[in-house]
Symmetry: C2
Subunit: 312 residues, 2 copies
């Protein structure tokens, strides 16, 4: 490991903000150095509790995050926030938008807010995010909020890989349908119907309940909460529900099992990403498309195409 | 290619039943020889229309298959049937059960019925089944029915990789819920509520419609049909719906696009299976579990575990 990376590890462990920021930037950019640095932090992780917050743009995720930060800070705990934006490869560090939306905490030293895109990390944000979470965890943040910008596949995957996952929808028929289509039913531990002072909130609660009924019997039936994040209405109940879900997971080894399953999944994804990287390096995307066109015309069978890709 | 495999290819192309049977057995057993043989058949494929039929055990899939075979034979067409059973590694050739359930056609030379398990094919049944379909396709069967024994993950995947996929449920609330849980909503082109003379058929139709409503707008909204396969009730309507869906796909390049997407998916799965095979060969399953236990105890980070698996 390079000497400055080694120094960054020490600074991050001490909770130094600039050290944390540089290390997360390294992870975003990707490369062996970043992963080697985080490997040094790994033995110091596993203490933070992670909360994923996902939902369509404009549903009020950042306002809810802001209010949750307030609850955590009221208890004296430090908080790390990662805003995941796969659509913005040039975001770089924390963007102005986050600071505006979470303005109550912009000057609070106990809160670390950071936007994340990916510019090169192997496996993209679904592998870079757990690395960034580890940096905040090792830096001593007991709560880490992972907020997504939208509900794309990566964002759903990343938000779903948290201890507690919150899915935010708004009143109206369309949102429950969209949530189902986006694969949010599978990852939600809590549903929040935000902007619940608008027409149709009760309908949305009913729709979500109907969709949960269709999911059959569940060990944990996701709670459905109604909030108005801008006024703070319903935040007490949301905070209680988060802690109720945490207590549920911490009972009977469920949290450990869930985290072990995530680690297993991550190792498999790293292996797969490295192997696919090798294949792509040998045969570019153009070559893959050309081979598939040949398969489609029956000039080449699928196994021969795979062999060509594998360079046999 | 071995000389006898080459001879089998010629016999299968001529529609010889014993040649087809031996070639499918080769594909089940796996190995380079089988895939090389099917590669020889590949230019002669793409003419057959495939229909996947899936649903819980006892829902009446085989009786429906039997009735559909009758329709196809009434038009003078030959039919190939693959019964997919991932739970039975020792099934081998056609089992007695199939012949009993599809007894109307057991002695009809225009119908080829075969159970399929997998004993060694790389990637299991999800890669072996398309190879078996190719054998029947090259042998000149214009219709190929792929019937699953249950609704496990492999069976859903295999049945979903057909031109038209039929999901069979029975009257009663539970079945629609189970269908949703098993991931059948995503793959169904047609729903058949079989045993529709029993109580609750209308409820099941309503439940399925409600679940389809939650799927948002669809280019093709799956038809919902009611049948009593044992008496033949509703089979006319089912046959019409199959042909309606086929006409839909054959309009506007949809069928080609769907088949190209399947081929793309297959090539990627072959590449992945071969790469993962290499990893497993280097490090057995025991080694993988031991490494994960170390990761869980924070003795090893996920990237180091992946590197060890990759033998770096």
């Amino acid at each position: 490991m390079r000497r400055d990376a080694s120094e960054l590890v020490g600074r991050a462990l001490a909770g130094d903000r600039a050290g944390i920021a540089k290390l997360i930037s390294l992870v975003e950019q990707g490369g062996e150095g970043a992963d080697a640095a985080v490997a040094r932090l790994f033995p110091h992780t596993g203490r933070a509790y992670t909360i994923g917050i996902t939902g369509a743009p404009g549903s009020g995720k950042s306002s809810l995050t802001d209010k949750l930060i307030g609850r955590m800070r009221a208890g004296g705990d430090e908080v790390g926030v990662l805003a995941i934006d796969p659509t913005s490869p040039f975001t770089g560090g924390a963007i102005l938008g986050d600071r505006v939306r979470m303005q109550d905490h912009a000057t609070d030293e106990g809160v670390y807010i950071r936007s994340m895109a990916t510019r090169g990390h192997l496996g993209g944000l679904s592998l870079a995010t757990p690395q960034a979470v580890r940096i905040l965890d090792a830096a001593g943040k007991p709560w880490i909020l992972i907020e997504t910008v939208g509900v794309g596949q990566v964002e759903v995957e990343v938000a779903g890989a948290a201890d507690t996952t919150i899915v935010v929808v708004n009143p109206g028929w369309g949102d429950a349908v969209q949530a189902n289509k986006a694969g949010l039913m599978e990852i939600a531990d809590l549903f929040v119907v935000n902007k619940a002072d608008r027409d149709g909130a009760a309908d949305t609660v009913r729709d979500l309940n109907a969709m949960l009924d269709f999911s059959g019997e569940l060990e944990w039936r996701p709670r459905i909460l109604q909030t108005v994040a801008t006024t703070g209405q319903g935040i007490d109940e949301l905070w209680s529900a988060i802690n109720e879900h945490r207590a549920f997971l911490e009972g009977g080894e469920r949290l450990k099992a869930r985290r072990d399953a995530r680690l297993r999944d991550e190792v498999q994804r790293i292996v797969r990403a490295r192997l696919e990287q090798q294949v792509v390096q040998r045969a570019g995307a153009d070559r893959f498309d050309k081979l598939l066109a040949q398969v489609s015309r029956r000039e080449l069978d699928p196994y021969a195409a795979a062999d060509e890709l594998l360079g046999e």
